[in-house]
Subunit: 210 residues, 4 copies
DNA sequence: TATGAATGAGAATTCATTCAT
DNA sequence: CATGAATGAATTCTCATTCAT
């Protein structure tokens, strides 16, 4: 199911609804969110929602797709400023967490709501998310080609581990009220763990020989 | 455990219902799961559910609490077999992912359902989860005390980053049908990234001089 | 449907249950009352109730029948102390309201719950209640036979009007928390209205000649 | 009226539902009445009920309030046609019972359902009912001021006794299938009892010298 | 007799979606 | 395009009653 293509409707209203939905989903959660509440918050009638979106699911999916598109573009632009793959990893972490910081509600929805249930993670092929992860895998392969990252490092594992580390950190940051760490500090620490963890030529293997 | 102290009720039925709920929640997701489906699957009447649980939410919470208790006990027992904090990290990763491997449905519920924003992660003080994360922080502090882990490493960041990495990996593993990596391989790679990433005395800092 | 005839059961428990039911019905109302609450209050198991009563309705009906029997016996004994029919009317009022005063919960149930709904007032032929009303009609006829009460007074109307007057007064008395009138004062006023209202030889008719 | 201010909704539907509810409540009793049955009888969907009323209770309360308003207006208009307080009493009785005669279902609901203890008579401050009773008290005071009614008569007792008498009579009339007395005959008898009972200067006191 | 765990029919209410205006 | 009243399917939870112990 793909979202409504704005045929000849005012794109302004489409975005109003999306923005209202972001707030309502973040506040209540997807299943507790009421379409009528989104409508009220967007300043339109309930029925109007259905001129722009197929149904409630479609609103969430549109949010995710449009949101991920921005994230991907933004993060790609950031890492392209760097040539060193190891430094790209740091850039990625910073860009990711900066986006979370500046789009708390949106971040919460992507993290929490979209991965929430079978409904979305199973039935909906999450192309955009995979594309995002593959940016990381790409950096790793690039580093390996340049001999900067160990050959035995699996890009498919790094991409998930690194994303998971950032994502858990941002969940914490998003959900907690009083924040202990600056989110950029966290970005730097996490990227440093991974850079040290995967770069080539740092002597003995980690786990010993058990 | 839940409100109902199982006075003279058979604890067997309590567990039957939990096990049925695990299957149904894993299959449909919490919000799509029907209490009557859990009842049917548990081989009891709908009303019987309410002799053992306050309501549908309570079933999920009991699943989480009882499940996390087992995870914590199990993981604690595993890492206690090791004295070297760095090796404990590897043990943790292996134990965590082995549990996921052996309790797929349960793992999916803990990961996916309990993350459901408002209702559970906001209103529900997730003590058990925090206790689990603090096992990791404890290992890190231990390693720092022994001079094995760098002093500038924040245990509060490592615990979330490490858990997030494992968790994302297991989400992938749980949700994907055909599996590329052995989950134990993933455990070893991820723990190696972190061990190399945080251990003391491995030369130049990670990020270079930016 | 008639209530369970105590075959070979302990009558003590039967009364315990009735007394508990009186309290619970008075507190919650019949439909809001829970059988399990009556059981708890009576100090028996839920199932035990059904050894003494057919069902929940049967408890209410038994309360009414047993209660009315006492009321009728008591009121009959009172009016038999008097020979003058007009004075019997006053005795009736006093006895009725004294019973209400001393059995508030029971009075509330008879007034409020039993006449409450179709269920009881339509399906259940209320013999006891009619018997009670007919005590009044009997006094009126006696008074008419003695020439003390006007011949044009309809006993069937007086019995209902008089009972209704007392009953409304006692409803007020039962439901109000702070009481303005002594209930015996009310008994005397009301009986006086009716005695003056129906006795023979008091000159011009009431309503004028419209 | 109820919470829902009928903004753009058709008030016609509000009344359809009320009328359907009157029939269903009269037929089944409040607790046995099904919302879906009211909906069917009103020719609307179940959910539509909830656009006009908060819940099932609210329907009953609206019925009572709207019904009592009509009764009060109607009875006030009737007694205002008379100047003699004693004749007003007769007018009141006639108007009251005429309303019962012409609105059997509604009368039954007001009498039987609203008397339902806890929920309505205790928690719900029954202003309208008290207002109605005070019409009677007002007439009595007026009669006392003119010397037509004895000074020792308590208006607060008369109002309840007189209402109770009429109400019990109409309960009988509403619930019985074959009717012995014309309801207007009853109105005249009852008002005559009370007029004779309370008017000034009719010789010896009622109760004799007990 | 007494128990109380188990039953399962039953009902109020919600809310995504539609469609006449 | 926009509205929002109307729809009605769908679901949790309750509680009188039963019956194995």
């Amino acid at each position: 199911m793909t979202h409504n293509s704005l045929k000849n409707k005012k794109p302004e209203k489409y975005h109003n609804i999306q923005e209202a939905a972001v707030r309502v989903f973040a506040r209540r959660g997807f299943y507790q969110a009421r379409v009528s509440e989104i409508a009220r918050e967007a300043g339109v009638a309930d029925g109007t929602i259905y001129l722009y979106f197929e149904n409630k699911d479609d609103i969430l999916i549109s949010l995710f797709e449009d949101g991920m598109k921005k994230v991907i573009d933004n993060v790609r632009a950031e890492i392209d400023k760097e040539t060193d793959p190891l430094k790209k990893i740091q850039r990625f972490a910073r860009a990711h967490l900066a986006l979370v910081e500046n789009n708390k509600d949106m971040a919460e929805i992507i993290q929490v709501e979209l991965r929430q249930s079978s409904k979305f993670m199973k039935e909906y092929r999450n192309e955009k998310f995979l594309e995002y992860l593959d940016i990381i895998a790409g950096i790793v392969r690039e580093g390996q080609a340049l001999g900067l990252i160990r050959e035995d490092v699996e890009p498919g594992i790094v991409k998930r581990a690194f994303f998971g580390a950032l994502d858990e950190m941002s969940r914490f940051w998003v959900l907690s009220t009083r924040r202990k760490y600056n989110i950029q500090t966290a970005a730097d620490q996490i990227s440093e763990f991974f850079i040290r963890g995967i770069r080539a030529g740092s002597g003995v293997p980690a786990g010993g020989r058990n």
